[in-house]
Point group: C2
Chain length 140, copies 2
């Protein structure tokens, strides 16, 4: 069976979809991605769809499912590389990929994830004001 | 026609081969890669073959050709993600991919490229320094 590889690059998992998204391939990808997120502790997933001529409702739903699975595993998903024609067709079909963040290419997707992650940490820092300080130890 | 996407990540172009390497696909990939190297000025190419069950002599030759094209355009190629079974079969077939560097995964491939690039710069620095270097003086 064909399988879409999941590549780890730093804190990000990269998936480049090039083959037809049949049921089994999509399920396998969801499973592989979930496993890799847990195994690596990555906080970002980038899905490149620049090789796809067509994104139909099944692929759209698969992308949304992957984004949801990643979210509950504390990873954010960005879909990158969408062709202009694909975007036009998607909207004409009434599919606007709700809940899925997009970026033009892999690099911009990485920037987006890094920025969001930094903002998240900033928010957490604001909340953590009661830091437990270790007591000083007297020598002798 | 199916086309293998070339993704730019920093100073590196990443290609994940997932579809069958037919003549036209291989030629198109060589052309796309050469164009992208020239357009972006990237110095490294990583080709991920973790999705491939079989690497036959045609694929081996294609990888070698890509490595050679990249080299004359001042970019180094690293093939990553080879499965153990593929490695065994390759050697049994008498194909040892001469002239192709390999790494276990994308991250190690990036490390390799970064290290080689740094060494290259060091060598250039050393050559400059050799001219100005004073001979060692014996303390007696």
């Amino acid at each position: 069976m064909e399988r879409v590889p999941v590549l780890k690059i730093g804190d990000i998992l990269l998936v480049s979809i090039q083959i037809d998204m049949e049921d089994q391939v999509a399920l396998q990808l969801q499973e592989d991605l979930a496993d890799r997120i847990v195994a690596t502790g990555c906080h970002g997933v980038i899905i490149d769809i620049s090789a796809l001529d067509i994104v139909d409702s099944f692929v759209g739903r698969t992308l949304a499912t992957i984004a949801s699975i990643s979210r509950v595993l504390d990873a954010e998903t960005v879909v990158v590389g969408m062709r202009p024609a694909v975007a036009i067709t998607l909207v004409e079909l009434g599919l606007s990929l709700p809940g899925i963040r997009t970026a033009l290419n892999v690099e911009l997707g990485m920037d987006l994830l890094a920025r969001n992650r930094a903002e998240e940490y900033d928010d957490r820092d604001d909340e953590d004001e009661d830091e437990a300080e270790t007591p000083a130890v007297n020598a002798s």
